[in-house]
């Protein structure tokens, strides 16, 4: 029972934990409510890619900063998160793939990403295990991967040691508004008075937004992944496929993580788990096709996860003028893990100072109502504003709670 809190973060995934860590470092005592375990849902089921290549260009500045922050995580959090920065190969198997990748490489180079298009011979120099069908690939040397299970846990542990409070197996049931502003969060076990609630609930983000009278276009995409038995190190890169058919990596543990898409992912029924049994075999076929060396390895475990896919595949971040005190940090559309450290930092800056060091205007909540071409100039997300009435001297104001 806490009664009162500076900030309540809904969702103890990697975003919630990263934000809690940053806020606790600034001296706040955030409360995190998680309905399952820390990093127990999307944050624990993803592939662990820390990549900049093939991202939406709007996310690129955040992704670049995130890569820098990932390198410091071990030291900062006092725990090894198995971060490996050895590049990302995005494999092409058809001439169309090559054409598309050439275009995409140019676009991404234009925003400052170090990225090149390789032919088969160059690919083999980097990864000699790719299959005969691979005719080329894009290669971004600063991409990499980390262990998603450990990243959430590391943020959680550090945040807790700095004074953040975590309540797991507890579900948020309601957000109480008073005069249109956030006043309290009600869970199935307690009521917490707060002025500020952060929606970092991933797939449940829509439900949480609904509680405050807000909504945004997000749907559930069901995906599966598998892990094999361990081998000695074969290749350190993160692998992907140009059309996004499969992605994978060898973990530091030695096992191979492989995920993939077959096209049926969007057809799940509400709150249910589909009984499709062909995603695992489909991933296996792709793995054998692209990495024939693994064909005799045994699959130890398969699992599924839900991607919170927004209508434009980029997250919703920042304050909302509609409901002062409600902060979005959700809708990462399946590629949020690699952004976690930078999102944690930016959301913390926003809450502490109403000022962010990297612009997050493109991710503002209002974009859905104003059309796809809308260029956001939302106050609060770009510069200091009184739009939320939280703002002037935010830090001082919070201390007086």
């Amino acid at each position: 029972m806490v009664g009162k809190a500076d900030v309540v973060i809904v969702g103890g995934g990697v975003m919630g934990c990263a934000l809690a860590y940053n806020l606790a470092k600034e001296g706040l005592k955030p409360v995190v409510i998680e309905r399952s375990d820390i990093g127990g849902e999307e944050s624990g089921a993803n592939g662990g890619g820390v990549r900049q290549s093939a991202r939406n260009l709007k996310e690129m500045p955040l992704a670049m900063e995130s890569v820098r922050l990932f390198a410091q995580l071990h030291e900062e959090l006092g725990m090894d998160v198995e971060y490996v920065r050895k590049g990302n190969l995005r494999l092409c198997s058809t001439p169309e793939d090559m054409v598309n990748m050439r275009k995409s490489v140019e676009n991404q180079k234009a925003v400052g990403l170090q990225l090149e298009l390789l032919d088969r011979k160059q690919v083999l120099e980097i990864n000699p295990y790719v299959g005969d069908g691979v005719i080329g690939a894009t290669f971004c040397p600063t991409d990499g991967h980390a262990n998603p299970l450990l990243v959430s846990y590391a943020f959680f542990k550090k945040a807790k040691s700095l004074g953040a409070r975590f309540y797991t197996q507890e579900e948020v049931k309601d957000i109480v508004l008073k005069k249109g502003r956030v006043a309290a969060v009600v869970t199935d076990k307690q009521r917490i008075e707060t002025d500020l609630v952060v929606n970092a609930a991933g797939m449940a983000g829509r439900k949480i937004a609904n509680m405050a009278g807000l909504d945004f276009p997000v749907k559930a995409v069901f995906t599966e992944a598998l892990i094999t038995e361990a081998l000695p190190p074969l290749f350190p890169q993160m692998l992907g496929q140009a059309r996004g058919l499969f992605y994978g990596r060898q973990t530091l543990h030695g096992s191979f993580f492989m995920g993939g898409f077959v096209g049926t992912e969007e057809f799940i029924y509400r709150d249910g788990k589909p009984l499709f049994n062909f995603i695992g075999p489909a991933i296996s076929r792709l793995v054998i096709e692209y990495l024939p060396v693994l064909k005799d390895l045994h699959v130890v475990r398969t699992w599924s996860g839900i991607i919170d896919q927004t209508s434009d595949s980029i997250p919703v971040l920042g304050l909302t003028p509609e409901v002062p005190g409600f902060v979005f940090c959700t809708g990462f559309s399946g590629h949020g893990f690699g952004l976690a450290p930078v999102i944690g930092r930016l959301m913390c800056e926003l809450i502490m100072d109403c000022r962010v060091s990297l612009p997050i205007n493109d991710f503002c909540y209002s974009r859905f109502g104003k059309g796809a071409d809308h260029v956001c100039a939302c106050k609060g997300n770009a510069a200091c504003t009184t739009a939320t009435a939280l703002c002037p001297n935010k830090r001082e104001w919070l201390k007086n709670i």
């Binding site: 399952s36 375990d37 820390i38 990093g39 127990g40 624990g44 299970l149 450990l150 846990y153 959680f156 542990k157 807790k160 975590f166 797991t168 197996q169 598998l226 094999t228 038995e229 543990h253 062909f278 695992g280 075999p281 296996s284 076929r285 793995v287 054998i288 693994l294 064909k295 005799d296 390895l297 045994h298 699959v299 130890v300 475990r301 398969t302 699992w303």
Partner: protein, 209 residues
Amino acid sequence: MKPNFIFAQDVKAVLRDGTKKITIPQNSRISAAALDLIKENGVELTYAGSLNDQSDMAVAAPLVEQASGVSAENIGDAGPEVADEPMPEEMVEEIARRVIARFRELKGAPAVASPLAGQKLEDEDDLVICRCEEITRKEIKEAIRNGMKTLNGIKRVTRAGMGLCQGQTCQRLVTQLLAGELGMAPAQIKQMTPRAPVRPVALSVLAAG
């Protein structure tokens, strides 16, 4: 309902202050040593609540428990309350006699050193719980104390249960550790989410559909 235990020290306390009367609340379990002292010294028993067959059974329960080595929870579930017919009184007395006899026997006997007796607690913490991934008791306890309060959570941060056997060997042990740390019954702990395949399957076999 959580049973209330009467131990030898409680009886000794009554003996020390000379009242020689002890109140047994309902749903109590009396340890064999305590019962021994009660009989030897003729301590008067007063039962809180009504005295019926059920509370007589409750007195007998700890004796049965000590004799067979099963835990208190198990006896509560499958014991006299559930049985169709109550246990005959002679049988209860017979069990009580056997327990008391054994207790006396042990009391005078020289202690037999257990093979683990010399080991320190640290060594016990080095016990490997998950054999596939070589995860020790200490690592699992640390994860629990750091806030992982479910089997899935422990699995994620320690890898216990992520190996080739998928927790088939260690799940019970981890459950016991978690139950001990949380002060819950093992039966109350939710199992790990089962993941396909049950046994490792070659990629080429899975690919064939």
